[in-house]
Point group: C3
């Protein structure tokens, strides 16, 4: 029973194993649990791509997906997340995928429930399947992490993936720099001395990873600027794209604010991997679900199954 809560808890070997398994799925590998298995997606915050991506991944693995509508559930009667998950466990659900607005909501569950929890985003905290799909997209492009320079640009403070991506990429051997409005940064980030001005970052990186401005997470006292100003100062403009390194790529977790983080006409340009990232999301989620459900079943069979697939680092 393997949870997936944060990328920082994963070793480099575990990350590579998840990526390899995802790549196998991308190449057409199939895997299904050996008995009818149930999963519930508990999304307490709006989401299209993550929820639908998990749904497609679940169906491709032949799982039964139990609809769980947070707005019409007993949560509105005040039921705790723990009681909700224990209920689902009791009725036969084999794994839960949870998105929740509270940071580290999963501390209420871990070690107490007997089914794996897959974190699909907690507050401003973590979003491990997003991080992993970013890593897969980079690996597919460069077949390595060591020696790459990756710039993460934008709304770092409210991003679930900025810090976990930086952590994982660094452990995998890449160099990570941050850019964007300094007012939006933690002191931690700034003190790290890995802040770069936007033009240097874009011109020298192999991967330009733009972050969505999380308007919905900004408080009233936040420094605000117009969309046009943001785009001009910190966005990937048509002009800046021309100065990117040869064979460097553009990434964005989406949904994109067109003409804010990135110029409208660049969203689907040749360098853009934005829709490729979404496609990879399905394979990463298949890999992560397989990992969680494999160990449930006692798993000798499926551990062997991992071994049968060549693992390349």
């Amino acid at each position: 029973m393997e949870n997936l809560l944060t990328t920082s808890e994963l070793t480099v070997v575990e990350i590579q194993q998840i990526l390899q398994d995802a790549q196998n799925f991308a190449n057409g590998a199939e895997w299904k649990p050996n008995k009818q298995s149930f999963v519930a997606n508990l999304f307490f915050e709006p989401s299209t791509r993550t929820k639908c991506s998990f749904e497609v991944a679940e169906r491709k693995l032949g799982l039964e997906v139990i609809p769980f509508e947070t707005t019409s559930s007993s949560v509105v009667k005040g039921e705790t997340l723990y009681d909700t998950v224990r209920t689902l466990e009791s009725i036969g659900v084999n794994a839960v995928v949870v998105r929740h607005k509270e940071d580290n909501y999963f501390n209420e569950l871990v070690g107490k429930v007997n089914i794996p929890v897959i974190n699909a985003g907690d507050g401003c905290g973590n979003h491990p399947t997003q991080s992993l799909l970013d890593l897969l997209t980079i690996k597919q492009e460069f077949n390595k992490f060591a020696g790459l320079k990756i710039s993460i640009i934008g709304d770092i403070r409210h991003s679930r993936v900025a810090r976990s991506n930086a952590d994982a990429l660094t452990r995998l051997g890449a160099e990570v720099v941050f850019s964007g409005p300094k007012e939006w940064f933690d002191e931690n980030v700034l003190n790290d001395a890995n802040y770069e001005d936007i033009d240097t970052a874009i011109e020298t990186s192999d991967v330009v990873m733009l972050l969505r401005i999380q308007h919905e997470r900004h408080g009233e006292n936040d420094v605000e600027m117009t969309k046009e100003d943001y785009h001009k100062q910190y966005g990937l403009t048509v002009d800046r794209e021309k100065r990117m390194k040869k064979s460097s790529i553009i990434m964005h977790p989406a949904p994109v604010n067109r003409d804010v983080e990135i110029a409208d006409e660049l969203v689907e340009c040749e360098r853009s991997r934005i829709f490729k990232q979404m496609q990879n999301g399905v394979y990463i989620r298949m890999s992560v679900l397989k990992r969680s459900l494999t160990t449930i079943e006692g798993g000798n069979l499926h551990v062997n199954d991992y071994k049968k697939w060549p693992i390349a680092y």
Copy 2:
């Protein structure tokens, strides 16, 4: 990859082919795509029968239906319809069924996304699967269109099906007349000289097709009358039904406002095909989905498959 956006874009031959395929499904024919296929139903407006009808049709074809809740999706973060559909395409969805409150919303998609769009209703514009199920119901009854007289009665201006039904029925050889409150009509309709008073229309038609009063689409300045007045002046009363032609039938797209468009006790009377229309809706949607998914797959097989089924005009 065959979209279905409006009936007016369909040739008479295409209409007949869709009807024939639907009738084959009604007769027990089966068809499934040759690999796991995904469809998403994007309903940005409330609907029971259309959405559930598509769901049943999709399951009968063995499709995987990806739940898409418009109220909890990224659309609430301001994502465009184009970006939403491209996202679904990226994660492996093979076709989208869309209902949207804007007329011709599909212009934003057509030629830009690479998966078929099936229109399940746009604003006050089109509702092609509703039109097609109406046609199937008429064909089952009379086995022809030529020579039939069909009266379409009621809220023409706000109806998605009135004009497209009139267009298709005329092309198929039927005579179409309109009736109802003149204030609710376009000048186009009135100038067509095919307006008839309610009693003549009902007494001389083979098909009396009543339209739902779309209270929810009426603006504040609309001419309003009481339900009782509407029923008396323009509704199918018990008395008017007695004066209908022998073997003529009653149709209504539902949901019915009982005792407004039609007397409560007539909704399930012998002449009524209202619930038959709903039943036919499933077969039409199976036919339309098959048509969209067939061409995706390159389709020699399935084109042959069409040929194997006798097509009767």
Copy 3:
């Protein structure tokens, strides 16, 4: 076509048959209808456990579950429950599961629609699958009903299960007593002379069945007390649990108000069957769905199928 509306309409033999079939499912028996079958869950009130439990049961029987969102359906356009269910019937749905806030909502349907209705809770009225899962949990524990003493404690007036459980248990041979705040009781209950004070009830019963305080059903004029007061006066405190009979058990329909009806640390104690009840809910619903769908199909096969399974009373 066997409806399930209330437990009081079921004979003792029918109850025992449903319990036996459920126990067979608990023991690993499998049953699937012999053709693709569709079911729709119409929940007009919030629910996690009942809705998800039905969903799991339905998937285990291989049924196709048609999503029906009450908030986005034509019900918001004013469609009646009858027209909604007739619509679902017309498009091929084979059974409906309904939860509705009105007592006896099903009177609008019974004898008029041609598909079975399974009541998942009506107003303050009935909740037969909850009653049946309670019975199954008791039967698993004691393998009999005769001679058992069961106390039902708490918010009797707003409980869907209190009266129907009392009725069924009495018919099955058990003794039932009530306890809790007298202000919350019907005169019927009090006059029955089966009211006991909380401490006597808890110390002398084989089954202590606590009811959820239905805050959401209490009106403004209800007698209110603090949670702490309720717990102290009428709750299962840690201290009261110590005075329970040897081998007696604790039940609660959930969701639990922790530290109100029952002390937090007792929810998952050794005597507690609260999560067991949820687990049994799936088997009961499988049994009830099988019963409804069996008779639809004409059913000689499935009637035999019942006979093939030994029925123990």
